[in-house]
């Protein structure tokens, strides 16, 4: 019962709940469904990325807008790294991706900021263009040279001749031949301000605003000149030609103005010269006006100049149009004809002149000699043909012709009698020639004699010189000989003196030498004399033989002096008595000299008294004799 009641109340409660909370229950179901969906999405990666990506994009964009510098700084740290990594992993893909972005950007930048791009690229492209232009010119010159080398036409030889004569290269001539430049306009422009002073234009090609064009041309010229002077400070050159497409501006300056010729092609040297001549005449005529020009175009001079310009332009028109290429090409041929004509004329003149002189001489001869002689003059030579009657006639003809200043080549027939005369003349001539030869021979002999004399003199001089040298070195020669001879005895001092000291020559205080030692001294002395007096090249110059006596250091100086003199004198007397000395007549030329205890002999710092008691024998050179001999030889 109670259970039933409870069940009944439960059902009612449910009914009541449905009635009261129907909306809430529905919302609860929806919430449960939403939670389930969220639970699913939070676990699904793709859904998360899909939701978060726009959010991050927006944050990044906002950061770019507000904190641009910082964002770039952060991204910059990784961007380079990403690019490097990508290039290592897949370079092709990276290149392809970047190309897609960069190429359109560059194209857009060029389209929108052309000037800026030109400024940036100009230094690079300028250099490239310059190189390409240089290369193109080189190729053009090569092509021309090739044509010159290969060409076998007559034109080539004409050009070659013209190049040789004028000094202009064949390449330039070839270029010249191919260029005819019609002048479209001529402008005279004030150099400093760039203001147009006067102009002339071909009617068909009038320039819209010449004043603007003049100013612009002036600016371009100044720009190029400045550029050239900045890049090449060594030259003060100025631009003369500016080419753009099919137009060429030829610019020539003088004083305070310059002229611009607008041409369709580059002008050749001749045309430039014509323009320059014309311009020079204008500058000469209006120099003062040009200097004073301040932009006023009402001046009378301007009209005059314009007329001159127009006149020149009109003159140029036929030059550029009517002057056909053929005419230009035939110029060298004219030149060849000209040269040939000059050669032919010179031959003709020479021929006529010779003919005239022949006539003159023939007439003069006829006036002198009744016989007719045929004359042929060529320069200074004259050939004579004909026959004479007498030798005198023949001689007269020769004399007359020679007096006229000609060299005669005679073909005159002479009668038999005249042959003798010819023979006589020939003999005379032969005799004269013989005389000349004899004279020449005599001259030759004289010269030969002179030559031999010079050779002899030279030989003598050489001999004398050698003799002088020999005499001058006589002393050293003697010394050399002595050293060689007495090398074993150790008794020769540096001056060539023989020294006797180790043979117990003298006892202490005694002036009489030991007899055994004296014999040795005598023998050495004799050898000494032989050596000095047996050689005729030295004997005449030996003066005295000096014998020096010495003592040891014992005793007083006075005693030693006397003792040394006694020792020297004893030896002198002994030697003077020798036969050899007498045979050399040296008795009077032996001198004794006592030198006491001077020049003592020391051995290891201790006096060797026995050695100090000694005798020295030395020779003296007779200097006067020697000098006289040298002088004599030197004088020859």
């Amino acid at each position: 019962m109670r259970k039933r009641a409870l069940a009944s109340s439960q059902t009612e409660l449910e009914t009541l709940k449905r009635l009261l909370l129907n909306d809430e229950l529905k919302q609860l179901e929806k919430l449960e469904s939403a939670i389930r969906e969220l639970q699913f999405k939070s676990e699904d990666k793709e859904s998360i990325i899909e939701k978060l990506t726009p959010l991050f994009d927006e944050i990044l964009w906002q950061n770019f807008q507000t904190k641009e510098k910082k964002t770039i700084e952060i991204l910059g740290r990784y961007l380079a790294q990403i690019i490097v990594q990508s290039s290592q992993e897949n370079l092709e893909a990276l290149s392809s991706s970047l190309q897609e972005v960069i190429s359109p950007s560059i194209a857009k930048e060029i389209e929108e900021n052309q000037d800026k791009m030109v400024d940036i690229l100009y230094p690079i492209i300028g250099g490239m263009i310059s190189r390409y232009v240089t290369q193109s010119i080189r190729e053009l010159m090569d092509s021309i040279n090739h044509k010159i080398e290969d060409g076998l036409s007559i034109e080539r030889y004409k050009r070659k001749m013209k190049a040789k004569v004028t000094g202009v290269s064949e390449s330039e001539l070839l270029l010249e031949e191919s260029s005819i430049a019609p002048i479209v306009s001529l402008f005279v422009i004030h150099k400093e301000s760039g203001l147009l002073i006067a102009e002339a234009t071909q009617e068909s090609q009038a320039i819209d605003d010449p004043h603007m064009v003049a100013s612009m041309a002036s600016a371009i010229k100044d720009f190029i000149n400045d550029w050239m002077q900045t890049h090449d400070t060594t030259q003060q050159s100025e631009v003369q030609l500016v080419s753009y497409g099919h137009a060429t501006l030829y610019i020539e300056g003088a004083g305070s103005v310059y002229i611009i010729a607008f041409l369709e092609r580059e002008p050749d040297a001749q045309q430039r010269l014509e323009i320059n001549h014309f311009f020079a005449s204008v500058v000469k005529g209006y120099n003062g006006f040009f200097q004073q020009f301040e932009g006023d175009d009402s001046a009378v001079e301007i009209e005059e100049i314009q007329e001159k310009l127009q006149h020149f332009l009109n003159l140029q028109e036929p030059h550029s149009k009517a002057k056909p290429l053929k005419e230009k090409q035939t110029k060298p041929l004219y030149w060849v004809f000209g040269v040939l004509l000059v050669i032919v004329l010179s031959f003709l003149v020479n021929f006529l002149y010779n003919h005239y002189r022949t006539y003159q001489l023939q007439e003069a001869l006829l006036g002198k000699i009744p016989t007719a002689i045929h004359v042929e003059v060529e320069g200074h030579r004259v050939a004579l043909y004909g026959e004479v009657k007498t030798p005198q006639e023949y001689r007269d003809i020769l004399k007359f012709v020679e007096e006229e200043g000609y060299k005669v080549e005679s073909h005159i027939d002479v009668p038999m009698g005249l042959l003798l005369e010819k023979e006589r003349l020939f003999k005379t001539h032969l005799h004269q020639e013989h005389q000349k030869i004899a004279q020449l021979n005599r001259r030759f002999d004289r010269m030969n004699h002179e030559f031999q004399r010079v050779i002899q003199y030279n030989k003598i001089s050489t001999f004398h010189l050698k003799e002088v040298e020999k005499l001058a070195s006589v002393e050293s020669y003697i010394l050399e000989k002595l050293k060689k001879r007495f090398a074993d005895y150790l008794s020769l001092d540096k001056d060539g003196a023989l020294e006797f000291r180790n043979k117990h020559l003298f006892q202490i205080g005694n002036a009489i030498p030991n007899q055994e030692a004296l014999v040795v001294l005598e023998n050495r002395f004799k050898e000494y004399l032989h050596l000095l007096f047996d050689d005729p090249s030295i004997a005449p110059y030996i003066g005295a033989i000096v014998i020096e006596g010495y003592t040891d250091s014992s005793g007083s100086q006075k005693l030693n002096q006397r003792l040394s003199s006694q020792r020297a004198e004893y030896i002198r007397l002994y030697l003077a008595d020798l036969d050899l000395v007498k045979s050399y007549h040296l008795e009077d030329r032996l001198y004794a000299k006592g030198l006491g205890s001077r020049h003592l002999v020391f051995v290891d710092g201790v006096e060797d008294k026995e050695a100090s008691r000694r005798i020295k024998i030395k020779y003296q050179i007779n200097l006067r004799k020697l000098v006289d001999a040298i002088k004599k030889q030197a004088d020859g």
């Binding site: 030109v118 301000s193 400045d226």
Partner: protein, 158 residues
Amino acid sequence: MVRKKILLIGDFNVGKTSLIRRYVDNSFDEKYLTTIGVKISKKCLTIEGLECELLIWDVEGQTPHKRIPHSYLKGASGAIFVADVNRSETIEGIDAHITTFLSINPHSKYVIAYNKADLLTAQQQEMLSLSGDIFLTSAKENLNVERLFITLAKEMLL
């Protein structure tokens, strides 16, 4: 007719070209000659009955990489030195421009334009005390542009 060459000289971005564009109805193609640092325009005017044609050389400001040839300055009868009134360094630079110009053309006339005046407030404009040859100009608002050129033309011609 008298023709005169005049120059517009001043630092970069001071509004030289804008001034010319405002003044010259017959403006030459501006892209032309940009690379050589000068644009040339022409303006005809009559000063007290005297016909005159100005050939106006808009000389680009010099930079370390781009030197303007002094020959551009030669032969000019007058010059307008332009500064941006909002950038003091451009005003200070005018003296150097004038010195250079007068060293080449000692007898030429000149006026000075403090341009971009439209960026100044009215109060700032009043505070500026300008002498006779200095003009406060605005190419944008066409302030004193014609006066600037005519004053120079009068100086040159009369």
